[in-house]
């Protein structure tokens, strides 16, 4: 990631915070979080045709609780479910 010298550094701060807090809130070390993400992708992939590179896992706080959001765009439903 290249950080521009001028311009909106507040946006950079915001982006960095979002990434940092996903890790912090998951209470998992980065490698474990990576494994979890792979597991989730594999599970979804058993039922749907998805673009594995284009999946978003976000941990965020929503009115007094922490939630894990997974956003995956589904290409098609798999005919044969393993």
């Amino acid at each position: 990631m290249s950080i521009p010298r001028i311009g909106s550094t507040s946006l950079i701060a915001e982006e960095r915070l979002k990434v940092i807090l996903v890790q912090d809130r998951s209470m998992l070390p980065p490698t474990k979080f990576g494994h979890m993400k792979e597991d989730v992708i594999d599970t979804i992939g058993n039922y749907f045709e998805i673009n594995k590179a284009n999946i978003l896992l976000i941990i965020q706080r929503e009115s007094k609780k922490t939630v894990l959001d997974t956003i995956a765009s589904i290409l098609s439903v798999k005919r044969k479910i393993r």
Partner: protein, 263 residues
């Protein structure tokens, strides 16, 4: 029965003690009986910020150890008759704290005051635990930077797990000019990221430094300062009033931006 509120942050140096003292003053100015409690056992500072260091006789650990009564340890403020300080001990360490006893002491004080503000030490260890244990509400202080917001997020998680769900956010050292030029985190973004209600922003104001140097509180020393206005507004919001947020905009070509209310 009074409200017990912990003022906390996670990160050090964001202004917990200054904010506790000045909020105490403005809440008492509104007619409330207020105790501000220094929970930073071993590193007390609230007495110094209020300029009461020479009047400290007993402290909260003396009450806890049975060496004095609560009333003997409370120090009345120089200017605000409704404001009291309960100092921390300087000779004990956090390990000496008996959290159950602290909770008992605070719940006794709660019965005869409108507000008990607990100034939490930095960190998430025992000192923080003992400041949070008696509280039913929390004020989280952040400065608009990545480390302070990150630490605040951690503290919010811990408070919520303890069942403290009434948590509001104060953004301190807020520079409206930098925010406008997108060189400082915007309060709205911090609110979004942390998922808390904003109760106020405190602008950078040299009067805070000057009053601190003198051991005076803004409500007395710099009553007309913009920072004091911010404290007044936060106090009134704590009291349940609906006060619009200040919006600072530079006017004309002068060095000093005058402030006006947001439409």
């Amino acid at each position: 029965m009074g409200r017990t509120i912990v003022v906390t942050a996670g990160k050090g140096g964001v202004g917990k003690t200054t904010i506790t003292a000045n909020l105490g003053a403005s809440l008492s100015k509104l007619g409330n009986k207020v105790v501000v409690v220094d929970m930073d056992i071993g590193l007390r500072n609230l007495d110094v910020v209020m300029g009461l260091e020479n009047r400290v006789v007993y402290n909260i650990m003396d009450i806890s150890d049975g060496k004095c009564k609560i009333n003997q340890a409370l120090v009345r403020d120089k200017h605000f008759p409704g404001l009291f300080l309960l100092p921390a001990s300087q000779i004990h360490t956090k390990d000496d704290i008996n959290i159950d006893k602290i909770v008992d002491i605070i719940s006794t004080i709660e019965n005869s005051f409108d507000y008990v503000l607990l100034d939490s030490p930095a960190g998430i260890e025992k000192g923080f635990e003992s400041a949070a244990a008696p509280a039913k509400e929390a004020l989280i202080i952040v400065t608009p930077d990545v480390s302070a917001v990150r630490d605040a997020d951690r503290v919010i998680g811990i408070l919520e797990n303890r069942g403290i769900l009434a948590i509001a956010l104060i953004v301190n050292r807020y520079d409206y000019g930098l925010v406008r030029r997108k060189k400082m985190l915007n309060a709205d973004s911090i609110v979004d990221i942390l998922g808390l209600d904003l109760i106020g922003m405190i602008p950078e104001d040299k009067m805070i430094i000057e009053s601190n140097n003198r051991g005076e509180l803004l409500a007395n020393y710099a009553n007309g300062s913009i920072a004091n206005k911010a404290f007044e507004n936060i106090s009134r919001r704590i009291e349940g009033e609906d006060i619009p947020f200040l919006n600072f905009k530079p006017q004309g070509k002068g060095f000093f931006g005058l402030f006006r209310r947001e439409e």
